[in-house]
Amino acid sequence: MSSTGAVQIDPTGGRPPRTTTWAGFALPGVGWLIAFFVVPVYAVMAVAFGSVDPILRTPQPAWNPLAWDFSAMRSLLDRVFGGDLGKVFVRTFAFVFLALAGCIAIGYPVAYFVARKAARSRGMLLALLVLPFWISYLMRMLAWTNLLQQDGYVNQVLQWLQVMDAPRNWLDGDWPTVVIGLVYGYVPFFILPLYAALERIDGRLIEAGRDLGASAFRTFVHITLPLSVPGLLAASVITILPMFGDYYTNSYLTSGSPRTEMVGNQIEFFLRGSSQPQTGASLVLVLMVFLFALMVYYLRTTMKAQRESER
């Protein structure tokens, strides 16, 4: 973009200095991420493929890839594929996708309303939607457990509405409590990106559909919905990725029940409460591999969007 019509003069006199300066800006951050992200992930691998001190049960990482011992990983994989740990993975996937379904069922209408319909109260609604971000996740879970106590308000309301006649113990380890808890915890993270995507849909396209005679419902199904799919996918991915590693929601909401155990709980058990940290580290690696496809999808779409917006 040239401010005069003439030949553009580059005051710096060439490419190389500019690149290195900007690279220099990014270097501290990159260095930090290497030191505190890349190296730790490598350390996890070193522990997973290392050994354990027999007396104190502390991990003895193997730093040299040539000395890696895959036996712990192999026995873990045996348990995952066709063993009991496979059940935990299946259950984790089930919880996450059920919770995602809940998030979509609740979040899509809300995001759609605020993005496209609520003209007057949009500012206030947005503020109310953003508010849960500023409220600590655990405080919201705390609030939820307060309500779910035997003599708490949920039971009282349900009995008053005559949906139930006796107080139900919500916290004794059934999966609905965990799924509802996950939905409650994560739906704010789902709604906001979805709102941003829905807001950006060009209103003229929708008007065009209506002008051509389609009903409001058909316009939604054939125009709005398909246009919102990328946003929906992105919001879904960004919601379920953290959910897979969640171990505190379910153990907070149930006083330790094997029926609701997720992968995160097993990781925590092996790493903090057992004598086999290498199994815990291996489990972390297995989890990452499972999530790899999702992570790559997210990275590629984000980077593509970045490149497009910066063109």
Binding site: M1, T12, T19, W22, A23, F25, A26, P28, G29, V30, W32, L33, F36, P40, A43, V44, V47, P59, V110, F113, V114, K117, A118, L125, L128, L129, L131, F133, W134, S136, L138, M139, L142, A143, T145, N146, Q150, D151, G152, P193, S215, A216, P230, G231, A235, I238, L241, F244, G245, G264, L271, V284, M288, L291, M295, T301, T302, M303, Q306, E310
Partner: protein, 289 residues
């Protein structure tokens, strides 16, 4: 004509249902927190039903209230200290990285960009485990507790800063800096005097996001905590579910909530004054497609 009126009526009808769902959602989302706050004002020990109002759990009770219980207000202090330091370290690092990444061309830059994005999609438990292992096996010279927790928090939140700032940088474009350079400013002067002030609102937004993320962090703080003196508020709330607990926990959470809300209100007032040119949703669009 008739069909259009029917459409018009339909649109209103459907919007009414959506409006209802939305407001129900907002209530479902926020009312439990209000109930938790109300229980913090409970005079009895019950965490499920409200008995009578009192400030017992804030400062009244001589052993268990937030004011008197050492472990509770050390948790509060730890959380605030961590969040404050994290803001001060992660934001400059993130801003510099955002500016650098946006202008740095080449494959290494794309690699660095990917590296920056990966922490956003990594589940926290992976972070917690990895950092725990690295601080006990590799960087063993570092004092445990606050230092390691801070390092973990900064790593985790830096990427959010980069994404927010980059979104804003894209929206701003390069014309202002170029204009400044045409008028004779050096590259760094253009950066300092033109770009950074324009980034002001975004920098403030990043500060707030880093603050909120750090205050809310549970997994990393818990894996790196070295004992009672390095516990944060989320850790206290979590362990309060297991051991015997009182509404003092609700009081602690409420205090934290008030601090965060005050910070947000303060920040938004400052941002409103800083914002010379209107542009609202830049910070959100950074994290989404």
């Amino acid at each position: 004509m008739t069909s259009r009126r029917r459409l018009f009526r339909n649109r209103h009808g459907r919007a009414r249902w959506l409006a209802l769902i939305t407001w129900l959602y907002v209530m479902w989302s926020l009312l439990p927190v209000l109930v938790a706050v109300r229980i913090s004002l409970n005079s009895g020990k019950s965490r499920s039903t409200f008995q009578a109002p009192s400030f017992r759990w804030y400062w009244g009770d001589p052993t268990s209230s937030v004011w008197h219980d050492d472990s509770l207000h050390s948790a509060l202090w730890n959380t605030l200290r961590l969040a404050g330091l994290c803001m001060v370290i992660a934001t400059p690092l993130g801003v510099a990285m955002a500016i650098g990444l946006q202008r740095w061309r080449g494959r290494l830059s794309r690699g660095a960009n990917t590296l920056m994005l990966v922490p956003i999609v990594t589940p926290e438990i992976v972070f917690g485990v990895a950092l725990f292992i690295v601080f006990t096996q590799v960087y063993t010279g570092l004092p445990g507790g606050l230092t390691t927790q801070l390092l973990g928090h900064v790593t985790f939140t830096m990427s959010f800063v980069v994404v927010i700032i980059r979104g804003r940088l894209t929206a701003i474009g390069s014309q202002f800096e170029e204009a400044a350079r045409d008028l004779g400013a050096s590259r760094f002067q253009a950066l300092r005097l033109v770009l950074l002030p324009m980034l002001g609102p975004a920098i403030f937004a990043s500060l707030m996001v880093v603050f909120a993320t750090s205050v809310d962090d549970f997994v990393i703080s818990s894996f790196l905590s070295t004992g009672a003196s390095t516990e944060t508020v989320p850790i206290k709330i979590y362990s309060g579910a297991r051991a015997g607990s009182t509404p003092a926990l609700n009081a602690l959470a409420t205090v934290m909530l008030l601090v965060t809300l005050l910070a947000v209100v303060f920040a938004s007032l400052v941002m409103r004054r800083m914002r010379a040119h209107g542009d609202t949703s830049a910070s959100l669009s950074g994290i989404t497609v």
